[in-house]
Symmetry: C2
Amino acid sequence: MNGLVFFSSRTFAGLLGRWTGTSVRSLHSIPGMTVAQIDEEVAKLLELKAHLGGDEGKHQFVLKTPKGTRDYNPKQMAIREKVFHTIVSCFKRHGAETIDTPVFELKETLTGKYGEDSKLIYDLKDQGGELLSLRYDLTVPFARYLAMNKITNIKRYHIAKVYRRDNPAMTRGRYREFYQCDFDIAGQYDPMIPDAECLRIVHEILSELDLGDFRIKVNDRRILDGMFAVCGVPDDKFRTICSTVDKLDKLPWEDVKNEMVNEKGLSEEAANQIGEYVSMHGGKDLAECLLQDAKMSQSKQACAGLSDMKQLFSYLELFQVTDKVEFNLSLARGLDYYTGVIYEAVLTQAGTAPAVTPMETQNGEEGVSVGSVAGGGRYDGLVGMFDPKGRKVPCVGVSIGIERIFSIMEQKAEVSTEKVRTTEVQILVASAQKNLVEERLKLTSELWGAGIKAEVMYKKNPKLLSQLQYCEDAGIPLVAILGEQELKDGVVKLRTVATREEVDVSRADLTEEIRKRTSDL
Amino acid sequence: MNGLVFFSSRTFAGLLGRWTGTSVRSLHSIPGMTVAQIDEEVAKLLELKAHLGGDEGKHQFVLKTPKGTRDYNPKQMAIREKVFHTIVSCFKRHGAETIDTPVFELKETLTGKYGEDSKLIYDLKDQGGELLSLRYDLTVPFARYLAMNKITNIKRYHIAKVYRRDNPAMTRGRYREFYQCDFDIAGQYDPMIPDAECLRIVHEILSELDLGDFRIKVNDRRILDGMFAVCGVPDDKFRTICSTVDKLDKLPWEDVKNEMVNEKGLSEEAANQIGEYVSMHGGKDLAECLLQDAKMSQSKQACAGLSDMKQLFSYLELFQVTDKVEFNLSLARGLDYYTGVIYEAVLTQAGTAPAVTPMETQNGEEGVSVGSVAGGGRYDGLVGMFDPKGRKVPCVGVSIGIERIFSIMEQKAEVSTEKVRTTEVQILVASAQKNLVEERLKLTSELWGAGIKAEVMYKKNPKLLSQLQYCEDAGIPLVAILGEQELKDGVVKLRTVATREEVDVSRADLTEEIRKRTSDL
């Protein structure tokens, strides 16, 4: 692990208190402690002892970021800002507003929204007052915001970090603190128009980020549920069978069928029928075909989903995105709150996607298929869970899997010969002679006043060579060199770093000249 | 409180457990509880009962954000983004890179950095694993980042939220979750050049934000300490007397003197001598004058500070900011880690600053004087606290009090007649007739493809009036109206919302025409 530094302070006993959340003395004096709790304390102490390597006189403090988190250095930030710019520009092109919510919510707000995954929520310590948890996604805070402010329609994006006590796999872009990048449309509208716009947005963003070819899989919860019903899946097994189907992008059908039949107790016949359906993928034609399907057409739910799917594809044709969109009956997605259309975008060029093992992706929502970089769907019931009268606000949205995209962009930058600049500085104000610090500062100040991005070295008498070297390192394209002669003549020597070409420019024309020469940056 | 909604679920007993952090049963079974703790529990229960209004059969769940936090609605976000843009542009003009750090740090990282204020740190619950705390400022994580990555020089800005379990006063812009906006220069350089640049940055930002007139007070920790020494303050009272001096911007001298003498046991004579010094303010001349001062010149520390102050003012003259900067011996600032120059900017036009009572400001660091909107200083020892060998990295920085600035800008926007737009949409694609949804979507898609920010209503057959009304509400300047005739002629009717003027534009020219008409937006 890079950057790990150990150093010592405090006593062993003091550390015990901090490490286990209780002091050794009070540990002995708590009568209500269960055997399990004592076992837990002992395990912690032994882990601690291992860390200390038997040196009981002092402890070692680890200089690091918390598990599963990372700092962003300037180069990573430059890439991050470029990606955000592309995404936000797209959201704004589609007329979205933006909101922000606190990083923590009342614990109660998050309760009952994430099913089994609730165990991954970070809770804050009870320090007196409200019980708080770090947000787990941006969708539940969004629903809480809508209900609390009685907002019935809005188109908004929200880019912020969320927190999950998951098993980190940081080399593969999987963190405990990570960005989500959500776009949602809330409101009662005619079917499939906002849904189609979400897909158009995914198409625009993935095209503009230039991540290689991609495919957007689309399905509908109602079609899935209808399919399960007509295949003879008992009502109470819909969800668990659904999560097995969700594994189809990582496992072969035989394994999935095996899990359905042998682990989940589904009949072989039902599983086979499901198998036939989930192998189907196509476009509008498939939706039309299934509407005529003798079995599928028995389910009202499926028919509603299928005729909406037809409608969706008509709009997608108008939006010119059908080249990448595929109606795929095997797409399930994990989250409970989806009620209609669901979708997921995957990169299809192996070269562009970093190696990710199954179940270890992080697309901004739940773990999904290898290469997934966006996902979302319709959730018409979530806002109602927060409304005292259960009033529903239909919503559809998409989450861009920004951390995977960062990883890909970082890898691209690493192999590229083009240098990533971390500043936008246009010019360094330098001098070839001694005792010109005042003149350098004065000129720099003039340039700042004119809106030029300028730097000056913080030394009284820096060497010209080290000033030029700084420009090379930082990618600064121009240098303004001051000397006694230039000051006398009212000019500066303007040097182009790349070509080493130098030309005298009058002080009056300098700003204009810098602008002209850096207008393409 | 706006947006408060109550609704019921769970049982009263269940809530008690959540609310007080312990169940009623276990409350009776904890033998170690003190009288004070019991009183606290009783108070919490009574508060709870008041909330419930006596209905003990069910509890009410409050739909709100955690205490001391808020959501930002789209209008607030638009203002926030405008302010950030101004500030970040300035930081970039000065060649700063940016970094980011996790929202939480190892608890140990924050320990011993904030003195008494440590009690305001948010801890995370121990859910197994590391003990974590939410960051309290951006300076300590920055120092940790430098030490961990062995970085000895960098110029960086960092804009992010920090967390303090303080008493919120939200109407006055004081929150438990709030933004900090920091610019710091780390590195071993010639004295006062980076320090002067920090002051120039404050000057640029406050001028550009147009918050009314302001003043930047400057002092030096070494001058303060030297002054205390020559006035006869015992060494062990430097810090406590310093924090009393810090109150001079809120209290008259008599009260401050009274605290020194009667509460802190300083001799009347020493207090009187301090009183003489702290009433002094001026510029370079004052520094020169004090260097000749019979008493002050006895302190080596003070002399070092004073001669650096002289140097600082020479640079500030070159940077053309001395009109707003004042050397003021009463400026103390609370944080322990400062080692040299300290400064603080205050707004001097009462009208522009929202009412803030003493000790309730939040300038991005510690509570400071009324109207304070920026502050900072030199801290040469902090990075060394993280380095195993104590290697120092000299740092100087400034923190912009962004939350107060948001408050001022929001108040300005409220009284202004100019509408704050929350989107940048250039055009709405509308139709006057029925059955044109496909044509509207197709044209909208074309405009998106050409990079135009365009919206279309999500209804199959919206009324023209409601489409025009939407433009009025959202501030959209243009409407493209489609009808049978326009489609036949290959044109759209381009309407300017403000003037109601309409003109036919060919589809081929539409993009160019929209760009031309919205280029000033």
